[in-house]
Subunit: 191 residues, 2 copies
DNA sequence: CGTCATTGTGCAACTAGTTGCATAACGAAG
DNA sequence: CTTCGTTATGCAACTAGTTGCACAATGACG
């Protein structure tokens, strides 16, 4: 149940309308909790009904008319409570790794190409994060209250760095020698 | 739609019953595509109806009676086709990063403790992967057909290495100086 | 004035994964 | 021989996320 809390966080940073929130997600919180406008509108409705947020009285409510939301005290408390919950890391669920594993069994003609494609995408994402870091967190003074936000960004940077590194080595390993395993046949398990 | 393909891969490696498959997932494919027995049984039913797998004739079909499945040619073809599909990396979706971001807004008394807890978990997972590597992929001869499987395992190892590194630095950064930001108040965006 | 693109809100249906539980066969213990 | 734990299969309801689309207001262009 993270999306409502992502929305509360974003609304505390700045009261917004649904679409505005969606756009801010696309270049901020959405980097580690992506969401669509449909989902966001639905969740805004729930949060309002729960008394966690309300429509700013300045805007008139009508279909197709902009509605700006702000967080109510109850919403802030809810978020505070959620922040201090313990929650185990979610298990990895990655189709690319699954594909490689399947390729070990049924063969993989174009797999190296797919790895190269992913490498490009991860490099782009990494560059985007580094650009944000350069812009928002210059080395001089790291404002105390920005430390957590910087750590989160560092997480994104380190994660993309891991992917580019691993993909590079995987491509080398796959194309460096022989044509690959073809249709494997063993029946052992594990790993 | 990855679960059916995960199951096809596992069944090609070795024909199995539902429960056996579940257990093999727990210490193998489930590391990057986790699944429960309920989901696996449901999917086995669909795969059988689709003509991708069949029950081995040796076992008699009855409720509460073991049924062993094997992959049919159509299933192998389906898997082959899926392996060569292009699929973009899924966006990250991580509650811990979200929590840190929320903590920058509403404060975070116990956050460092939670980070330490995660660090332990990731270290344990890393140790488990390294043990598997030591056991299944000794340095001497790397059999050609095992290369892909080893690469997948390397992915898990590198990923856990990234987490332990990042968490260690985050904990240092959070506990090293001042008491943290408390209730932040800024209203800027991005990052 | 009409129509067309843009901004904005939102519903409905679908898909995939999770949680809780029911049920059957079978062997071991009392 | 019955009861109990284990192995095994599976259904049903729920939750979260995705996809496709509908509709209202508004301002620009002809």
């Amino acid at each position: 149940m993270s999306l409502p809390h992502a929305i509360l966080t974003a609304l505390l940073e700045k009261p917004s309308s649904g679409l505005e929130l969606t756009r801010r997600f696309d270049r901020s919180i959405g980097y580690f909790w992506p969401s669509t406008h449909q989902q966001i509108y639905r969740e805004l409705g729930k949060l309002e009904r729960a008394g966690h947020i309300r429509v700013l009285p300045t805007a008139q409510p009508a279909r197709g008319q902009r509605k700006e939301y702000e967080v109510l005290p109850a919403g802030r408390e809810e978020l505070s409570a959620w922040v201090s919950l313990a929650e185990d890391p979610r298990p990895v669920r990655d189709p690319l790794l699954l594909r490689m594993r399947a390729a070990a069994v049924v063969g993989a003609p174009g797999l190296a190409g797919e790895l190269r494609r992913h490498l490009v995408l991860h490099r782009e994402q990494l560059a985007e994060y580094l650009e944000i870091e350069r812009r928002d967190f210059p080395p001089e003074r790291t404002a105390d209250e920005d430390r957590l936000r910087h750590l989160v960004l560092r997480g994104g940077i380190d994660l993309e760095t891991f992917w580019t590194g691993w993909l590079t080595r995987a491509i080398d390993d796959l194309t460096g020698s022989g044509p690959g395993p073809g249709t494997g046949s063993r029946a052992s398990d594990d790993s």
